[in-house]
Structure formats: structure tokens, C-alpha cells
């Protein structure tokens, strides 16, 4: 399922790397929104932050691993 990524000798599927980056970006986005005071107004957090993670994951995956 997609190209394999070699990370220090172990091969991981590309989607796993994209998902990791997506989750980290969502955590960073949550921290940023809290800092900016936007967090209380974004709506349902349990929907918005997973959506951010999914968005980043899929965009990365389609852009870089779907030749």
C-alpha cells in the first residue's frame, strides 16, 4: 500500500509517516489556537482537530506519494 519509507533501517508505509505528521500538526494547531485565543470558537474540538490531522495526512499523502 504505497511506497515504503526507510526510517533508520526499518521500512514504514508512507501513510504512517503522513499520519504522524498530520497528528503532530493537529497538536501544534491546537496549541496555536489556544495561544491565539481562537480555541473556544472553532466549534466542536473533537471534530475540528481530527479533521485537521486528516486534512494534513491526506494532502501530504496525495501530494507526495501518489505518483
Amino acid at each position: 500500500m504505497g511506497p515504503q519509507i526507510n526510517i533508520i533501517g526499518s521500512f514504514f508505509p508512507s501513510w504512517m509517516l503522513c499520519a504522524l505528521i498530520g497528528i503532530v500538526t493537529a497538536l501544534f494547531g491546537r496549541w496555536l489556537f489556544v495561544r491565539a485565543g481562537l480555541d473556544p470558537y472553532v466549534g466542536r474540538r473533537q471534530l475540528v482537530y481530527p479533521s485537521l490531522a486528516i486534512l494534513v495526512t491526506l494532502v501530504l499523502w496525495v501530494a507526495f506519494f501518489r505518483g
Binding site: 500500500m1 504505497g2 511506497p3 515504503q4 489556537f33 489556544v34 491565539a36 485565543g37 481562537l38 480555541d39 473556544p40 470558537y41 472553532v42 466549534g43 466542536r44 471534530l47 475540528v48 479533521s51 485537521l52 486528516i54 486534512l55 491526506l58 494532502v59 499523502w61 496525495v62 501518489r66 505518483g67
Partner: protein
């Protein structure tokens, strides 16, 4: 915590926060749809095999191939020229056959002339009363 983070101008923050939240959810939904479409239209794997039918071809005559017009795995249509076999031996054989034919025709002509001469000779020896009329 939320009360502490509420900014001094909550109206603008509320609008920006709403827009961001809605935008993120909407963009994620579009990304899911685009990814599923990509998945459907262009399936991808790094572990696939393709089975193909092999068709052996052979020319009806033998000889050296002097021109090759196709590459490996190239798509070809019926009637396409794939390769050219050296035509020189066949051209030489054709010319030889034509020369033999011409020679044989000459021989036939010579024999016909001989027959005509012989017939004329036979006619000349007959009595004049019985000579056939020459047209």
C-alpha cells in the same frame, strides 16, 4: 481555561475561530473525497504482476534481418512492418529466373523460325501444281 483564553475582542475572534473550524472540517471532507476518487481512478501498489499473452511470429521465408522497426513491448497494429528481411538473394533469384525465361523464349523463337524454314523448304520441293497458295 476557556474563560482565561477569551481575548479582549471576542467578536473578531469568534468569527475567525468559526471560519477556521468550518474551513478545516470542510477542507478535510474535500480531501477525503479527492483521496477516495484518486484511489478509485488510479489504484496503486508496489506488489503487482501483469499476465500477458505471448504470440510467437515467424516469417514465411528465411534470411538476415536488415531493418527492425519495433522496440520491445511496443504496441503494433495489424499490417505494421515489424522487420525487413534482406531482399537481395530473392532479387537475384528473380533476375536469374527472368533471364532464364528470356533465354527460353529466344530458344522457342529460334525453334519456331527453324520450323518455318523447314516448312518453307518442304513446300519448295513440291510440284508447282500442288503448291499451296501463300497468303
Amino acid at each position: 481555561m476557556a474563560e482565561k483564553d477569551v481575548p479582549s475582542n471576542p467578536g473578531a475572534r469568534r468569527i475567525i475561530g468559526r471560519l477556521l473550524g468550518t474551513g478545516i472540517v470542510g477542507a478535510a471532507a474535500i480531501a477525503v473525497i479527492v483521496t477516495l476518487l484518486q484511489w478509485q481512478i488510479r489504484p496503486q501498489t508496489d506488489d503487482a504482476t501483469v499476465r500477458a499473452n505471448f504470440v510467437g511470429i515467424a516469417p514465411q521465408v528465411n534470411g538476415h534481418i536488415v531493418e527492425l522497426h519495433v522496440r520491445d513491448n511496443e504496441q503494433v497494429q495489424e499490417g505494421d512492418l515489424l522487420f525487413l528481411i534482406d531482399p537481395r538473394p530473392y532479387k537475384i533469384a528473380l533476375e536469374r529466373a527472368r533471364a532464364t525465361l528470356a533465354l527460353t523464349r529466344k530458344e522457342v523463337d529460334a525453334l519456331k523460325n527453324g520450323v518455318a524454314t523447314a516448312v518453307a523448304g518442304v513446300s519448295g520441293q513440291r510440284p508447282s501444281s500442288t503448291m499451296p497458295t501463300i497468303i
